[in-house]
């Protein structure tokens, strides 16, 4: 696996959403108001949990089949694939990628979701996979539907898939969302617009990848993910020890 022996490059907060983004109302009471304390990485930050393929089931990455009961779920059959890299451009191998999403009608299998659209009896809406030696991953699913949420009266989320990345060190931990190229709801989405930089927002929009589609079977979208990279410890002694 990729083993960072050095600390991570300082996070570029300019690429990230601030804690407080009033356009997304829920952030108002849940955002720290004091400055974060900057912490030079120690072992506690550049180590992190290691996951093994044997912990995952053979269908965990196939959302078309991993909750199928009486048949397959309704919706556009879709492959989502890409590569997890670090800021140095290296593939992040053997890292845990987890996803969750609404069904094709925009309804989540969750006891707190009361949207009108029906539950799909054959769709759980979550999956997980471990990247290969090059950092590549792939899921198969149905394209999620848009759905309303309580922000403004008429706020709708564009179709999206939630992604969770474990990384090789705990300071790389990341949760994000992937959107689908061409969705007209993207420009007005209050969640995506928590990210101030338009170029950064664009990196969450996965392009259609027709070359990765399976003819007569499934369309494909490509979503590459970048986790924090490690810093070269030029002119420095080893970080650990006295």
């Amino acid at each position: 696996m990729t083993v960072p022996q050095a600390e991570f490059i300082q996070r570029d907060r300019g690429q990230q959403p601030p804690a407080l983004s009033p356009g997304y109302k829920t952030s108002i009471l849940r955002s720290p108001r004091l400055a974060l304390w900057s912490l030079q990485n120690s072992l506690s930050e550049f180590t992190g949990p290691v996951f093994g393929r044997e912990e995952l089931g053979p269908l965990d990455h196939d959302l078309l089949l991993n909750y199928a009961k009486t048949g397959e779920p309704i919706g556009e059959r879709t492959i989502v694939h890409g590569r997890v890299m670090d800021e140095n451009g290296r593939g992040v191998a053997n890292t845990l990628v987890e996803v969750w999403q609404a069904n094709a009608g925009g309804r989540y299998r969750h006891k707190n979701d009361t949207y009108l659209a029906p539950i799909d009896p054959n769709f759980g809406g979550c999956g997980r996979v471990i990247t290969d030696e090059t950092g590549a991953y792939a899921f198969r699913t149905v394209k999620p539907g848009a759905y309303p949420f309580r922000n403004q009266v008429n706020s709708w989320r564009p179709a999206h898939i939630h992604f969770s990345l474990s990384g090789s060190g705990f300071a790389q931990r990341l949760i994000t969302q992937m959107y689908f190229e061409g969705d007209p709801l993207i420009p007005m989405d209050a969640i995506l617009n928590t990210i101030p930089d338009p170029a950064a927002r664009q990196r969450l929009v996965a392009p259609l990848d027709l070359n990765a589609a399976v003819p007569l079977d499934s369309l494909a979208y490509r979503f590459d993910i970048v986790l924090r990279g490690t810093r070269s410890t030029l002119f420095e002694n080893k970080l650990q020890g006295n």
């Binding site: 849940r30 720290p32 108001r33 120690s42 006891k111 707190n112 969770s164 990341l174 927002r201 006295n242």
Partner: protein, 209 residues
């Protein structure tokens, strides 16, 4: 800067109200994976003092948040992380202990819990004293745009805490109190109570790691 070939980190987005589906599906109301991840870090053979960590997460009005995802990452009882980059080879690895767990605050009570062991002290950065026993915490939720990192220290380790290189740097010193978990004995077991305040008078210290 722009001419160098570094890739920018992917932007974070909120985990949203339905984070449970993907990361702790049983809390969303269904089972799907044969081996789900959870909040019990200990097995029968895990070395060290059994403890429970328990607490709530409060918003800026002091209301408990009932949809927070929490993850912890910690060293074993000897103070070694179960990770190949931990070079403290003088300390034993505990094969029965990964040192990681996740859970969500409960929808009704707002409480979270982890069953784990008390970690040992971990070596500090070069030139610094060892770090007092601590548990690294990361939380994500609806309304939190980018995951928050903090640390739990143990209030019954005053001497080690006093020397801890991370706690020592926090000013004003009164804010260090927000990182101390309170030891309680309950029903023959040890519980450390650790409440997290996202904002307000007792805002917890969060780190830019």
């Amino acid at each position: 800067m722009t001419t160098l070939e570094y890739l920018p980190e992917t932007p974070s987005q909120t985990a949203g109200p339905y984070v449970h589906i993907g990361l702790i599906p049983h809390q969303a109301g269904f089972d799907i994976f044969e081996k789900p991840f959870g909040n019990i870090l200990v097995g029968r053979n895990t070395q060290g003092e059994r403890i429970r960590i328990e607490g709530r997460v409060f918003d800026g009005l002091g209301s408990p948040c009932r949809d927070i995802l929490l993850e912890i990452w910690q060293a074993n009882a000897a103070g070694r992380y179960n990770h190949p980059a931990d070079g403290q080879t003088d300390k034993p690895l505990d094969p029965g202990f990964r040192g990681w767990g996740r859970t969500g605050t409960e929808f009704d009570t707002g409480l979270y819990r982890f069953d784990t062991i008390k970690p040992g002290p971990v070596i500090g950065r070069r030139g610094h004293k060892p770090m007092a026993p601590h548990v690294n915490i990361w939380l994500a939720a609806r309304g939190i745009n980018i995951g928050l990192a903090t640390r739990l220290y143990f209030d019954d380790e005053p001497a080690l805490n006093e020397e801890d290189p991370v706690l020592r740097m926090i000013e004003p010193a009164i804010r260090r109190q927000t990182l101390l978990a309170r030891r309680e004995n309950r029903d023959g077991g040890v519980v450390y109570v650790f409440d997290i305040h996202l904002q307000g008078e007792n805002e917890t210290v969060f780190f830019d790691v």
